[in-house]
């Protein structure tokens, strides 16, 4: 049976240092729940950088392509009209009229689809139940989840965690 240890910290500098030390001591840090973003914690945990910005760029390109297709189809192909003598026979020559719409749709796609991707990847949506194990982790407590496999000496890790400044340590069976 594997065990999970919940170690609580009350300072961001301490939890960052604790994660570094726990990882170098070959403990498996599964997760840290934080009340606010702690810079450097993702690197300390060995997480890869997020690729959301790249997706946003791609969505933006899709938005631009959609705007070009839409203005061309509606104004040039499907029903060309003479509006104030503006060239209705060539998308390229009529293009200055479409710049605003092209820009806005680029931003619209890049912004909204990136946020939707973020919500889906992080699995957050309305009516989703919160998964932080303790309500204090949205206030001022940082919770480090350490996974123990097999017959680990819980005494030893408890001592180690309190030496890094953990104010509360809970051992749970999984």
């Amino acid at each position: 049976m594997s065990k999970v240890i919940h170690a609580f910290y009350t300072d961001d500098d301490l939890v960052l240092e604790a994660v570094k030390e726990a990882r170098s001591a070959n403990y498996k840090v599964r997760e840290v729940f934080c009340p606010f973003p702690v810079h450097g914690l993702d690197k300390a945990m060995g997480l890869k950088p997020t690729r959301l910005a790249i997706t946003s760029f791609l969505y933006g390109l899709a938005g631009l392509a959609f705007a070009i297709w839409m203005t061309n189809y509606m104004m040039i192909v499907d029903w060309p009209q003479n509006i104030g003598g503006k060239p209705s026979f060539s998308w390229w020559q009529n293009m200055p009229s479409f710049v605003v719409v092209m820009f806005e749709l680029t931003v619209f796609f890049a912004g909204h689809f990136m946020v939707i991707t973020f919500y889906l990847r992080s699995r957050i949506w309305p009516f989703k139940k919160a998964e932080n194990p303790d309500p204090r982790t949205t206030d001022d407590h940082f919770l480090m989840e350490v996974e123990l496999e097999g017959d680990h000496d819980t005494e030893e890790i408890t001592k180690f965690l309190s030496s890094t400044g953990a104010v509360e340590i809970n051992i749970l069976n999984e």
């Binding site: 934080c34 973003p37 957050i124």
Partner: protein, 581 residues
């Protein structure tokens, strides 16, 4: 080993008082968990009455037709479009604060961005009402969307600036909303976990989307914020640019103007910041947020008002000059011209100049920038002045047509006034509800700058040195991180004891400490750390040997044995000691 960027102590703190992370939580959740007081109910009732009155006017307007407005043959646009541009302009400060200031890494935005963004969204909602009403047949509003109709199929006209507006404002409103909401998720989660009321917990649980605060979530959350800020910055500039195209692409004298796009954007920022001041000066007082929205925040915003007010004034001067320089008699009736200043709309002209160009000049005086009462008065004047700017552009320019027989004045009917008052009421209702139910300060972000910009932490660092590890009050520093003990096997600790035995311990009752910073290459940080090890005098330093430097290097991160050796600190200390004697 502190991970917080050192901020110069000369900079004023952004969060006042001795605050722990928990104190921040308590301060920000208090208005949500508490009950509204009488003054809130009084203002809310007035706002609600204004809103209902406006709603009645809108219903009458739509059921009767826009003939109920005071428009005439000469003046076909008046209060409706004035109000539309005025509200859109106000809706510019929020995104400017949250996006542009985020890109420039201005930490002071965190005190005000949540409310400024809320104001933006509520203001753009008001703005959107006017074009909808002006359509006359509001139930056909979907005709502005690019969807096929029954005429098989006549599309919307992408050559029209009015349609560009539809796209610009829809994008702006929706992106601002998403930006604001994503920032709110962790704060809703905070309220969800604090409240003891079961119903409240359920509501905030749904609103928070089950936010749990995992490291990966935070990493993505920060990236999303940064990218949205990068997207929203050109977006906010594009919105008022597009609004200005409504006028600039026409041939009406006074509207057909090249400088409209940048001038409109500056004007929008100007009015937006004035409205932020108007709202936040009251809100910080009522909700007791003075420690988060400080005088420094107010002064910074006043400086922005001063700069954009200057840009707007330069634009006025340019318009006035060009109208005169063109030599065209039609241009002498445009809204910034001698004809306008002395004509029948002289009062509108001078209201504009006094409120927008003269009133903000007082912000050149620091005492005025930091005076809440005067700031409030000037902000109100700017709100009024920016309304007149739009009124002048629309009504004054139209009032003097090319043929004198067509000249006319505009007088609003009760419907014009009622709809405008109604939108102010609607806006106030939304903002008042927001102030009672939303975390008005982005608490997660405030906590992340607390250590670098909080008054308490700045004071602690001034005493303990910039490299000192300053913890959240109430948290004890574990033994092994204390200076002189950050090496786990403690051999160095033993070594330093041996060194002190040899060079002599410092006794505060007998000895006086020396200014170790006189030694070349030894700065204030190392001095403080050396003091913590028990080294205070030239005499002690002069007895240090090369292997001692290595021991100290292991204990003090800033200390370099190499520098100490090449600069010969022991020798320098010996000289200083002898000179002292």
């Amino acid at each position: 080993m502190s991970l917080h960027h050192y901020e110069a102590p000369i900079r004023e703190p952004l969060v006042l008082g001795e605050k722990s992370y928990h104190d921040v939580t308590e301060d920000i959740v208090a208005p949500i968990l508490g009950k509204a007081n009488k003054s809130w109910w009084a203002i809310f009732t007035i706002a609600l009455i204004a809103f209902v009155w406006g709603l009645g006017c809108i219903v009458y307007l739509i059921s009767t037709g826009i003939g109920t407005w005071g428009l005439n043959k000469t003046i076909g646009w008046a209060w409706d479009i004035t109000n539309f541009v005025w509200w859109v302009g106000i809706g510019h400060a929020g995104t400017l604060i949250s996006a542009v200031l985020l890109l420039f890494r201005q930490k002071w935005r965190m005190g005000v961005n949540r409310s400024a963004e809320a104001m933006t969204i509520f203001a753009v909602v008001q703005a959107g009402l006017f074009p909808l009403i002006h359509m006359g047949r509001i139930w056909l509003a979907y005709w502005v969307l690019p969807i096929p109709n029954q005429f098989g199929s006549l599309w919307i006209n992408f050559n029209s600036p009015l349609l560009w507006d539809v796209f610009a404002i829809a994008t702006y409103l929706s992106i601002s909303l998403v930006f604001w909401y994503t920032g709110l998720l962790p704060d809703f989660a905070m309220v969800r976990d604090r409240t003891k009321n079961e119903f409240q917990r359920k509501i905030y649980g749904i609103l928070s989307f089950g936010w749990s605060g995992r490291v990966k979530d935070w990493q993505r959350w920060e990236e999303v914020h940064l990218v949205l800020a990068g997207l929203a910055t050109p977006l906010v500039l594009s919105v008022h640019t597009t609004v200005s195209f409504d006028f600039a692409t026409s041939v009406v004298p006074g509207w057909h103007s090249n400088i409209y796009p940048p001038y409109f954007v500056a004007g929008a920022v100007f009015s937006g910041f004035a409205m932020v001041q108007t709202l936040l000066i009251v809100m910080r007082k009522v909700l007791h947020m003075e420690e988060y929205i400080t005088m420094l925040h107010i002064e910074y915003m006043n400086k922005v008002i001063l700069v954009v007010g200057g840009i707007v004034s330069v634009a006025y001067a340019t318009e006035y000059f060009i109208a005169w320089y063109s030599g065209s008699e039609y241009e002498n009736y445009t809204y910034l011209s001698f004809g306008a200043a002395t004509g029948p709309y002289w009062w509108a002209f001078w209201s504009l100049i006094i409120c927008n160009s003269i009133a903000p000049l007082f912000f050149f005086i620091k005492k005025v920038r930091r005076n809440i009462f005067i700031t409030y008065i000037i902000a109100l004047l700017i709100n009024i002045g920016m309304w007149f700017e739009r009124f002048n552009i629309i009504v004054v320019n139209l009032s003097h047509d090319r043929l004198p027989s067509g000249w006319a004045m505009f007088s609003p009917t009760f419907v014009d006034i009622g709809v405008f008052i109604g939108t102010i009421g609607f806006f106030s209702v939304l903002f008042l509800l927001y102030a009672r139910t939303f975390p008005v300060i982005p608490q997660a972000e405030i906590k992340s700058i607390l250590k670098s910009s909080g008054e308490y932490y700045k004071a602690r660092r001034a005493v303990e040195g910039d490299g000192a590890m300053v913890l959240n009050p109430g948290t004890e520093l574990p033994e092994k991180y204390k200076v002189g003990q950050n090496v786990s096997d403690k051999t160095e600790v033993k070594a330093i004891e041996e060194i002190l035995n040899r060079i002599g311990a410092y006794n505060p009752e007998v000895d006086t400490p020396d200014d170790l910073q006189k030694i070349t290459g030894l700065g204030s940080i190392i001095e403080k750390d050396l003091n913590k090890l028990g080294i205070h005098t030239y005499d002690q330093v002069s007895k240090l040997e090369e292997q001692d430097y290595l021991v100290i290097e292991a204990l003090i991160p800033a200390f370099s044995a190499e520098t100490a050796k090449t600069e010969n600190w022991a020798g320098q200390a010996l000289n200083l000691k002898n000179n002292k004697l």
